[in-house]
Amino acid sequence: MLIEILQQTINGLAIGGVYVLIALGLTTVFGILGIAHFAHGSISMFGGYLTYFLATSQGLPVLAAIPVALAAGILLGVLVEVLAYRPVRNANHINAFIVALGLTMMVEGINLQLFGHEQVVIPTGLSRVFRFGGITVPELRLYVIVAAIVLVVAMMIFVERTKTGQAIRAVAENRDAAILMGVNVRTIPLIVFGMSTALGVAAGIMVGALFAIAPGIGEGLVVKGFAVLILGGLGSFPGAILGGTVLGITESIAAGFISSAYKDVIAFVVMILVLLIRPQGLLGRAP
């Protein structure tokens, strides 16, 4: 029983890492621009597809395809900010909302046109399995967990320890005061979209390597990402990290002990229960 729980927890950490990466991107964009960036999941999947395409049709090693996909993701994120969101920045909130929905459909359509509707798996060739006592850990899963931790730590260091990171926080907390500190509030959103999309593409690659990429996966992921934000507490980085991990482990345990068909239902029931007790989320501040 204990072994089984530990096993499912390890499994849950991998998918939890994906949720955390998606949620951190969403919360940073929301904090700076007040935009619910629904297209985030589909753009992340674009990065996953691109990695698959480069690794298969172009014959690139996966490790070489990943940086190319990350770079393409950053570029795409910056373009999305400049071309789609910036023009509606000072307009009514519903405008950005509609833009975000339209963008999701567009990116899904682009994915479909470029990469087709077949489900694809990124061929990593990582098939070893480590055993610790009675627990089995496929090496791919372990690398995904480690990569997710490294990315999260890197992002926290960037936000907490660098001038640009602090400027991002300052803009999120008080835009006018940030201007008075000399922060260029036109370049900050570019950095935020670049960073968020890079994290998202990393998550998309992880999904493509661990499971599979197919049309609609990105949209499902963005819903989970927002669920994580609410579970963890809106606007809180530690909340997004805890929320994503909790959601991943809950799903995994639910799938292992009850049924994988019900894992999403159970995960959302747990989320609703948490919010009934703590409406502000796990680490959110009380209103």
Partner: protein
């Protein structure tokens, strides 16, 4: 140093500043006084680039900054300590102070940081606390220290006494007097006209978006109209 000529500011097509001209010389402390809604704060915000000027010109050290963006104006040497303090509430006191030095690349930032905390011992005591947890008076001190961290050539203060208890107001003005004594050029907007006129060298009296009187602070303080309308005599 700072010259404002025939400045006009509008919000949504409604003009609130109708052609204001004022000057601040290096080392001077100038106060803008007048009733609430007279256009004082809007004038400051236009100087800082937070709101666009709809007409007129603003020059700083001979450079036209009328259409410059907010961050460029800070880099030129103009810093504002805004109305309502506007600290970054979830960032710590020390992170707020470091944000004040955002535009700087020199090596003396840490020295300035400890200088600020010598000047405001409460900030040293509370350095790792979230700024939003400080009292109103402490937040005002933080906002002032944060503005000074930029090493501005001129520092603008927008209603520093607003919403503070009388005892705290007195200590805010003592602080401003110390900053003035350090040789800082100051442009101050303040509803508490008596305090402002006691501190300033010169003052401009605003009424309904225009300057109706200007002169040495002492002269304005003793002017019968000013006394009747703003000083409660």
């Amino acid at each position: 140093m700072l010259a404002v000529r025939d400045l006009r500011v509008s919000y949504g097509g409604i003009e609130v500043v109708h052609g204001v001209s004022l000057d601040v010389a290096a080392g001077e402390c100038v106060a803008l006084i007048g009733a609430n809604g007279a256009g004082k704060s809007s004038t400051l915000k236009a100087i800082c680039g937070l709101v666009p000027a709809s007409g007129g010109a603003i020059t700083f050290e001979g450079r036209d900054i009328t259409r410059a963006s907010g961050h460029a104006i800070v880099r030129a040497g103009i810093t504002m300590c805004p109305e309502g303090r506007q600290v970054f509430p979830q960032m710590s006191v020390i992170q707020n102070l470091r944000m004040g030095a955002y535009t700087r690349n020199d090596s003396e930032q840490e020295a300035d940081l400890s200088r600020m905390m010598d000047m405001f011992p409460i900030l040293r005591e509370r350095q790792s606390q979230a700024a939003g947890k400080l009292s109103g008076g402490e937040q005002e001190m933080l906002a002032i220290a944060r503005a000074l961290m930029a090493r501005p050539r001129i520092c603008l203060f927008d209603e520093p006494s607003l919403g503070l208890a009388p005892k705290i107001v007195a200590s805010v003005f003592e602080t401003l007097a110390r900053i003035k004594a350090m040789g800082m050029t100051i442009l101050l907007v303040e509803q508490n006209s008596m305090m402002a006129l006691n501190l300033a060298d010169r003052a401009y009296l605003f009424e309904a978006g225009q300057i109706v009187m200007e002169g040495a602070a002492g002269a304005l303080k003793n002017h019968p109209d000013v006394m009747r309308a703003y000083l409660g005599h």
